[in-house]
C-alpha cells in the first residue's frame, strides 16, 4: 500500500445521478459532495430510496448505464476524475484504490466457487502473482479477518459459511486489493447484534492499521454514533445535513436528522409513545416540490413548499444543512416566520 499523504483520498463534488424509467427521468442523487480522508470514517445515513447506495455505486462505476446516467459532478481520486474515465479504466483505478463491501455477502460471492478460489482469482488478476503465492496470501487474508481455521475454510463454498463469516470473507476480498478507501454498504444490516459488533470492531482495527478511509453506508444511527467521524444524512437524493458526528447528534441542524434521532427507541431509555415522523419517505420519481421533507416536517412554512429547494446553509464552520430554518433548528427554537404566522 502506498503511504498516503495527508489530505483527501476521495473527493466527491456535486454528484448527480439520474435514472431513465418508464415514468420519466428520476434524479436519484442530487448535489452530493463529500470528502474521505485517510484513517477517517464517513457515514452516509438514509432510509431506503434516499440515494445513499446509488451514490457510492456511481463512484465505483458499478451502475448500469443506461438506465443510469451520471448527470453531473466529479469524483476525484488522486486528482483524477473517476466519472469521466472510460469504463475499463474506471474499474482499473477503483480496483487499485477503492474497494467495496456489500450487505448481502451471499449474493456478492460466487456460489459455485470456493471462497479460496475467489480470493486467489482476485489476487492473481490484481497483483499478477503466481497462483501458488496467491493461495498462500488468501489464507493470510482470511486469518487477518479472524476467520477461524482459515487453512481449512478456504476450501469451503460461500453457503457453508454463517452470515458473519461470509461478511468476513467479503472483507478479505476487499482487502486483497489493498484499498485506500473502503466503501461498506450496510455491512452488518443482516447480522445479529453480537456478530455486528465483531464485524464493526474488525473494520475499525483494519482501518486503524492501514489508515484506510472508510465510507460506511447505513440506516443504523447507533452504529454511526459508535464509529463515524463525519456524517452525511441523505433524504430524497440530497444530503440534508453534513457535520461531524458529535454536532450532528448533539445539535442537529436539519429537522429530518432531529426527528429521526427522536424517533428511534433506545436501549437506555424506557419511553411512552415514540415521537415518530409522520408519513413515509418519498419514492424515487415523486419527490415533492420545494424541500422534499416538507410534508413530514414540523417546521414547514410556505417557503418550504415552493421551489427552489433549500440550498445548503453553513450553520457552523464545516457544517451544512439544507433547510431554510437550519439555524433555528440547530438552536432548538421556533423559526421566526412561524411565530409571526401564529400571531
Amino acid at each position: 500500500m502506498t503511504e498516503s499523504a495527508t489530505g483527501p483520498l476521495l473527493q466527491v463534488e456535486d454528484l448527480a445521478v439520474e435514472f431513465r424509467t418508464p415514468y420519466g427521468v428520476v434524479r436519484a442523487v442530487d448535489g452530493l459532495s463529500y470528502t474521505v480522508e485517510a484513517g477517517r470514517t464517513l457515514a452516509i445515513v438514509g432510509e431506503s430510496g434516499s440515494g445513499k447506495s446509488v451514490s457510492s455505486l456511481a463512484v465505483m462505476g458499478l451502475l448500469p448505464t443506461p438506465p443510469a446516467r451520471i448527470a453531473g459532478g466529479r469524483a476525484l481520486l488522486h486528482g483524477r476524475d473517476l466519472l469521466t474515465l472510460p469504463a475499463k479504466e474506471h474499474r482499473a483505478v477503483c480496483g487499485d484504490h477503492v474497494a467495496m463491501v456489500f450487505q448481502d455477502a451471499l449474493a456478492a460471492l460466487n456460489p459455485v466457487h470456493t471462497v479460496g478460489w475467489q480470493l486467489t482469482e482476485a489476487l492473481v488478476a490484481r497483483h499478477r502473482i503466481p497462483r501458488r503465492d496467491a493461495r498462500k496470501r488468501a489464507v493470510e487474508l482470511l486469518d487477518l479477518v479472524k476467520m477461524p481455521h482459515a487453512q481449512q475454510r478456504v476450501k469451503d463454498y460461500p453457503h457453508q459459511f454463517s452470515g458473519g463469516m461470509r461478511q468476513r470473507a467479503m472483507i478479505a476480498m476487499a482487502l486483497a486489493m489493498d484499498p485506500e478507501v473502503l466503501i461498506a454498504d450496510e455491512p452488518t444490516t443482516a447480522l445479529d447484534v453480537t456478530v455486528q459488533a465483531q464485524i464493526m470492531r474488525l473494520l475499525a482495527e483494519i482501518q486503524a492499521e492501514r489508515r484506510m478511509g472508510l465510507v460506511l453506508i447505513t440506516h443504523d444511527l447507533g452504529v454511526v454514533a459508535d464509529v463515524a467521524d463525519e456524517v452525511v444524512v441523505m433524504y430524497a437524493g440530497r444530503a440534508v445535513e453534513q457535520a461531524d458526528v458529535f454536532s450532528a447528534y448533539g445539535s442537529p441542524a436539519h429537522p429530518y436528522t432531529k426527528a429521526l434521532l427522536a424517533s428511534i427507541p433506545r436501549l437506555d431509555q424506557k419511553g411512552g409513545t415514540l415521537d415518530v415522523i409522520p408519513g413515509r419517505p418519498p419514492e424515487q420519481g415523486s419527490f415533492p416540490d420545494g424541500c422534499p421533507f416538507h410534508p413530514r416536517c414540523g417546521y414547514a412554512q410556505d417557503v418550504c413548499r415552493s421551489n427552489p429547494r433549500p440550498e445548503p446553509v453553513e450553520v457552523a464552520p464545516g457544517r451544512y444543512a439544507r433547510c431554510h430554518f437550519a439555524a433555528d433548528v440547530m438552536a432548538d427554537r421556533e423559526p421566526v416566520a412561524l411565530t409571526k404566522e401564529v400571531r
Binding site: Q198, I264, L267
Partner: protein, 349 residues
C-alpha cells in the same frame, strides 16, 4: 407487580420442546440426529401485557412462534391458553384457538397475497369463521379494521403492491385483528421497515393494546425496540430461555453473561458514549442446535467463564446444565452457575 397471583395467564408454555429429525439417505432414510430448535422453554404471558422474546438467529424464537400458532406440533411440553392445554383440544376447539392466537409476520412483502385485494385479505377471516362476521356485514367490518390501523377505508379496493412497507404491515395487523384475537404473536414486526416508519408501527401496536386489551408476544432481535415495548423479557439462547424477568430488571441488572453481552453489543445512538460503554464482544457464532455444547450451552462463548478460572472454563460450566434460578426479585430468573459473578462484573465495570 400489582397483578393478582390467581389470575390465569392468557398464554402459558411449559417445558416446550421441538426437535426436528435430521435424516440422510434418499431411498432408505436414516435418522442421524435431531435439530433441537426449542429445547425446554417455559413462558408466561398475562392479559394485556407484552412479553419480549430476544436472542440471536438460531436461538429458536421463530420455531416457538410456529408452535404457539399451531403451525408446528411440539415434540413434548404443554401450551396452555387460558389455562387449558391445547393438545387436548378437538377440532372445533383448535379452530377456536386459532382465532385467539394470531400472528403478525416480519416481511410485509411476502406475507400478503399479491392477487388479493386488501379487502379480501382482511375479510378472508370472516369466510373461514363465518360466525364472527359482524351484523353490519363483512365490508363494513373491513372498513372499520382498516381505520383502526390507520389506513383509509378506501384501501380495501387496492392491492398490496400499491402500499409501502409500513402500510402493508398495517394491513397484516388488520388481518390478524379481524378474528378478534386475544394474543398477537409479532415475529420481528418492524425489522423490515424504514427507521422513520418503525416508530409508527410500534406506536400503533401500543395503542391497539390499550384499546383492545391485547396481549403480545413480541419477538425481535432489536433489543432497543423490545425495551421500548415489552413489560417482561425472555432471552433465548440455543433453544433455551437463559434469562427472564420484568424488563427493567433484565435490562438494568442482567444476570446471565449472554444477556450482558447481547446488551453491550447494541449500539446506542449517542456518540458521546463512545468508548465509555463496557463492550463485551462474543467470539464466534451460535453453535449448531444439532449438537449443543455439554453442560451450560453458552460455555463455549462465555466471556465470564473464561475469566473465572485460569485453566479455562470452570468444570461446572462444562458438565452441569444450569437451571433457571431466582435472582433477587421473585420473577427474575437466570440460568447461570455464576449469576452473582455476572452481576458483579457488570457493577464492578
Amino acid at each position: 407487580m400489582s397483578r393478582p397471583m390467581s389470575e390465569t395467564p392468557v398464554l402459558e408454555v411449559r417445558d416446550l420442546v421441538k426437535h426436528y429429525p435430521v435424516r440422510v439417505g434418499i431411498v432408505i432414510k436414516r435418522q442421524v440426529g435431531q435439530v433441537k430448535a426449542v429445547d425446554g422453554v417455559s413462558l408466561t404471558l398475562h392479559r394485556g401485557r407484552t412479553l419480549g422474546l430476544v436472542g440471536e438467529s438460531g436461538s429458536g424464537k421463530s420455531t416457538l412462534a410456529k408452535l404457539l400458532t399451531g403451525v408446528e406440533v411440539p415434540t413434548s411440553g404443554q401450551i396452555l391458553v387460558d389455562g387449558e392445554d391445547v393438545s387436548t383440544f378437538g377440532r372445533a376447539q383448535r379452530r377456536r384457538l386459532r382465532r385467539d392466537v394470531q400472528m403478525v409476520f416480519q416481511d410485509p412483502y411476502t406475507s400478503l397475497n399479491p392477487r388479493m385485494s386488501v379487502g379480501e385479505i382482511v375479510g378472508e377471516a370472516y369466510d373461514i369463521h363465518p360466525d364472527l362476521t359482524p351484523k353490519q356485514g363483512k365490508a363494513a367490518a373491513v372498513r372499520e379494521l382498516l381505520e383502526l390501523v390507520g389506513l383509509s377505508p378506501d384501501s380495501a379496493r387496492r392491492y398490496p403492491h400499491q402500499f409501502s412497507g409500513g402500510q402493508r404491515q398495517r394491513i397484516g395487523i388488520a388481518r390478524a385483528l379481524a378474528v378478534r384475537p386475544r394474543v398477537l404473536i409479532c415475529d420481528e414486526p418492524v425489522s423490515a421497515l424504514d427507521v422513520s416508519v418503525q416508530g409508527q408501527v410500534i406506536n400503533l401496536l401500543e395503542s391497539l393494546q390499550d384499546e383492545l386489551g391485547l396481549s403480545y408476544l413480541f419477538i425481535a432481535h432489536d433489543l432497543s425496540v423490545v425495551r421500548h415495548i415489552a413489560d417482561e423479557v425472555s432471552v433465548m439462547y440455543l433453544g433455551r430461555v437463559v434469562e427472564s424477568g420484568p424488563d427493567a430488571q433484565v435490562y438494568d441488572d442482567p444476570r446471565h453473561p449472554y444477556t450482558r453481552a447481547l446488551l453491550s453489543a447494541v449500539p446506542v445512538p449517542d456518540p458521546t458514549l463512545r468508548g465509555k460503554r463496557q463492550e463485551i464482544v462474543l467470539e464466534g457464532d451460535i453453535p449448531s442446535p444439532i449438537a449443543p455444547p455439554s453442560g451450560c450451552r453458552f460455555h463455549t462463548r462465555c466471556w465470564l467463564a473464561s475469566r473465572l478460572a485460569d485453566s479455562g472454563v470452570p468444570e461446572r460450566c462444562r458438565t452441569e446444565d444450569p437451571a433457571l434460578t431466582v435472582q433477587g426479585a421473585t420473577d427474575h430468573v437466570a440460568a447461570c452457575h455464576f449469576a452473582e459473578e455476572a452481576a458483579g462484573a457488570v457493577r464492578g465495570g
